[in-house]
């Protein structure tokens, strides 16, 4: 953190290395008088060329290779990849035990990752600590709750997936090995405890102090009637978008802008949009379990939430949802006859979209007759959310322009962390610089 004041009329707020986000990013804000002149979210995470590395690989290799884009949400990459490959090969696993098992392990990733964000990355902003460990010294009970939640998610991922980071059990068509009912039983106790902690988290988060902010970006998320969006669905928005994942390219465009060095996504007709917890909550409130809905209401949330600072409550509500749902899946679970269905390759293009904890993740692959990948395209949530994050940043600065540099810097960082950016995910943009006004 390096606040610099150049002179009375122009000042610069910057953080050269953002903390408590996944990956490497920097923030740069320039203010002239009381007017914000420039806002930049610079991402200097090195490019890793996954789309290029995937060319020539077998279609069966994509889940394991793409999971290495992000150690925080590997399941999201594996799930979007298998959905896209199955789509290319004319196989749809939209119901039945394999789908439920996929949803179950995805719940594990959500519990771990949302728990990580709420407690380790986001909470210190509200309680006034530089980080989780500093917070833990004075609030041991809060820290232990966060770790217990994370651990429950990791235990679920490890049991179904083999390990918590880069699980090994997910393949095109299903799983290498499906657990028995008895094997899932030891998950019930920790998940019930996690659900209690999640409920306590909603109550606790509801009492945090929030700035009175209302933001109006277009909200985009998957949606499926009767179920909260996690592993599949149509892509919908609050401004009437309602498309199949296969139509993503028709409506969304990714650009490498001249002075931005970045690929970022926008809706072709309208511009920036937001994916992630706030979008899912606003678009699928009705699909939350009764327990999660009631918890949200008790914490003072309406059916819509437009304040990004309150995303911490929304994530806590989603934690209740996925703990509840994981328990329901385990309760109903019957192992599939075979752990995977046959998926024969063919020359085709396939699309897959699922909800990573921090937003929608889209994959598209073109395959040759024998399943060799000819072309790959991956659009991670953070590249979709970039423009909205910058718009939020600009609004935060404008509203708090009288604050001293140190405080303003912290507020700006918090505005970025509101959206749980995963910069490691954004493997295919190098640096974002937006010049305005």
């Amino acid at each position: 953190m390096k606040p610099i004041s150049a002179n009375k009329s122009t000042r610069t707020i910057r953080t050269d290395a953002l903390a408590r986000v996944e990956g490497e990013g920097a923030m740069f804000v320039q203010i002239e008088g009381d007017h914000v002149r420039d806002v930049k979210l610079r991402i200097y995470e090195p490019p890793r060329f996954f789309e290029a590395m995937l060319r020539g690989r077998a279609f069966t290799e994509a889940p394991d290779i793409t999971s290495r884009i992000c150690g925080i949400c590997p399941i999201a990459y594996q799930m979007s990849a298998v959905r896209a490959m199955e789509d290319a090969c004319g196989v749809a696993i939209d119901s039945g035990p394999i789908r439920e098992l996929r949803r179950l392990i995805y719940c594990g990733e959500w519990i771990e990752s949302l728990g990580l964000h709420v407690y380790l990355l986001h909470a210190p902003d509200f309680l006034g600590y530089p980080g989780f460990l500093e917070m833990a010294r004075e609030h041991p009970q809060i820290a232990e709750q966060g770790l217990a939640l994370k651990k429950a998610g990791n235990t679920l991922m490890t049991l179904v997936g083999g390990r918590e980071i880069h699980p090994i059990n997910i393949r095109v068509g299903g799983f290498y090995r499906a657990p028995s009912r008895a094997e899932l039983r030891p998950l019930i106790d920790p998940l019930e405890r996690a659900r209690e902690i999640a409920l306590a988290t909603v109550r606790w988060a509801g009492e945090l102090p929030f700035p009175d902010v209302r933001r109006e970006p277009e909200l985009v998320a998957l949606a499926e009637p009767g179920r909260y969006p996690i592993d599949l669905g149509r892509i919908v928005s609050d401004r009437g978008l309602d498309i199949a994942p296969a139509e993503f390219d028709t409506h969304m465009v990714e650009e490498h802008v001249a002075h931005s060095n970045a690929l970022h996504a926008r809706i072709r007709e309208r511009g920036s949009y937001l994916t992630g917890s706030l979008a899912r909550y606003n678009l699928s409130f009705a699909a939350l379990s009764p327990l999660a809905r009631d918890a949200a209401r008790e914490a003072g949330l309406q059916e819509t939430c437009r304040n990004p600072f309150q995303s911490i409550i929304v994530r806590a509500v989603e934690l209740v949802q996925v703990c509840d749902e994981a328990l329901a899946i385990i309760d109903d679970y019957e192992p599939p006859d075979e752990p995977a269905v046959e998926v024969a390759p063919r020359r085709a293009v396939g699309h897959g979209a699922t909800e990573a904890p921090r937003g929608m993740l889209y994959h598209r692959y073109a395959l040759d007759h024998d399943g060799t990948i000819l072309d790959a395209r991956i659009v991670p949530p953070t590249s979709q959310n970039q423009l909205v994050i910058e718009e939020d940043l600009r609004a935060v600065v404008q509203r708090n322009v009288k604050l001293p540099d140190e405080e303003l810097t912290l507020r700006c960082e918090q505005a970025i962390r509101n959206h749980d950016p995963c910069i490691s995910c954004a493997t295919h943009f190098l640096e974002l610089t937006v010049q305005r006004g």
Binding site: R20, R48, A52, M53, E61, R68, L116, L120, F132
Partner: protein, 255 residues
């Protein structure tokens, strides 16, 4: 009382998964923080204590000119430097560029390749600076990480075995997937540490812990019954650039 040793965690080109392993030590994290001062760990805190540091954990490989400079600074500021994971120890999945034309890669991903600053190769940390200890794995094992930290604090040698995954399978009581089912498996040439997870899930090992000490892939390759093209692929994943795997993929690419 002597002051606590300081620990720094650094990220280079990587997925964040190996440093997340430290935060995933849910039962041990607060104990570690009691024994060591976590002086620099951006993923966990915006507080930064100035170096030099007693021990640095380094995640990721070197793929840009900026990283090549930064690792020199990290080395100069660290009494002990430990690499964590396949990227830092072997170059990682991004070392697939070492077998290809990086300009071609850039053109595939970016509309304006001129803006991209990258090196032609992805190299392990040890190709750039002296490394005191290396942990394998994509991702690393939590137990091995705790063992290395504990060994460091107690001034003893870490007990990290360099034998193959096969030994772990036997200890776990898993029936050999290659012998019993004919499933190709890199277990015989792969470094132990994961606990032989894949065979326990009816799947062949895919070598994410990299080569064991003195592997013999030439012999294994005959046993797998795989074609050259597939042999090239299975060695070219997360440890493609590691000695022991690189030669094997190159040999089969020539055939």
């Amino acid at each position: 009382m002597t002051p606590k040793k300081t620990l720094a965690v650094w990220k280079f080109s990587s997925c964040d998964g190996c440093q997340l392993t430290l935060l995933d030590c849910e039962d041990e994290l607060l104990t570690i923080a009691g024994q060591l001062e976590i002086a620099y760990f951006l993923e966990a805190s915006r507080a930064k204590v100035q170096g030099p540091y007693d021990v640095s954990l380094v995640e990721g490989s070197i793929t840009t000119p900026r990283e090549a400079e930064l690792i020199q600074e990290v080395r100069a500021n660290s009494k002990a430097l430990i690499t964590i994971g396949a990227c830092a120890t072997a170059g990682g999945i991004q070392a697939l560029r070492n077998f290809a034309d990086v300009e071609e890669f850039t053109r595939i991903v970016y509309a304006s390749p001129d803006y991209i600053s990258t090196l032609a190769t992805s190299t392990p940390i040890s190709a750039n600076v002296h490394v005191d200890y290396e942990l394998n794995g994509c991702p690393i094992s939590k137990q091995q990480l705790l063992e290395v930290i504990s060994a460091y604090l107690n001034r003893r040698r870490p007990r990290v075995r360099a034998h193959s995954v096969c030994v772990e399978c036997k200890r776990r009581g898993t029936v050999c997937v290659m012998v019993a089912h004919g499933t190709p498996c890199l277990g015989p040439v792969t470094h132990a540490g994961c606990g032989a997870i894949c065979p326990a899930y009816n799947r062949g090992c895919y070598g994410c812990f990299g080569p064991m000490e003195t592997p013999n892939p030439a012999s294994l390759n005959v046993w797998t019954g795989l074609e050259d093209r597939d042999l090239v692929r299975i060695y070219r994943t997360f440890n493609a650039n590691a000695d022991g795997f690189r030669e094997s993929s190159e040999a089969h690419q020539r055939q």
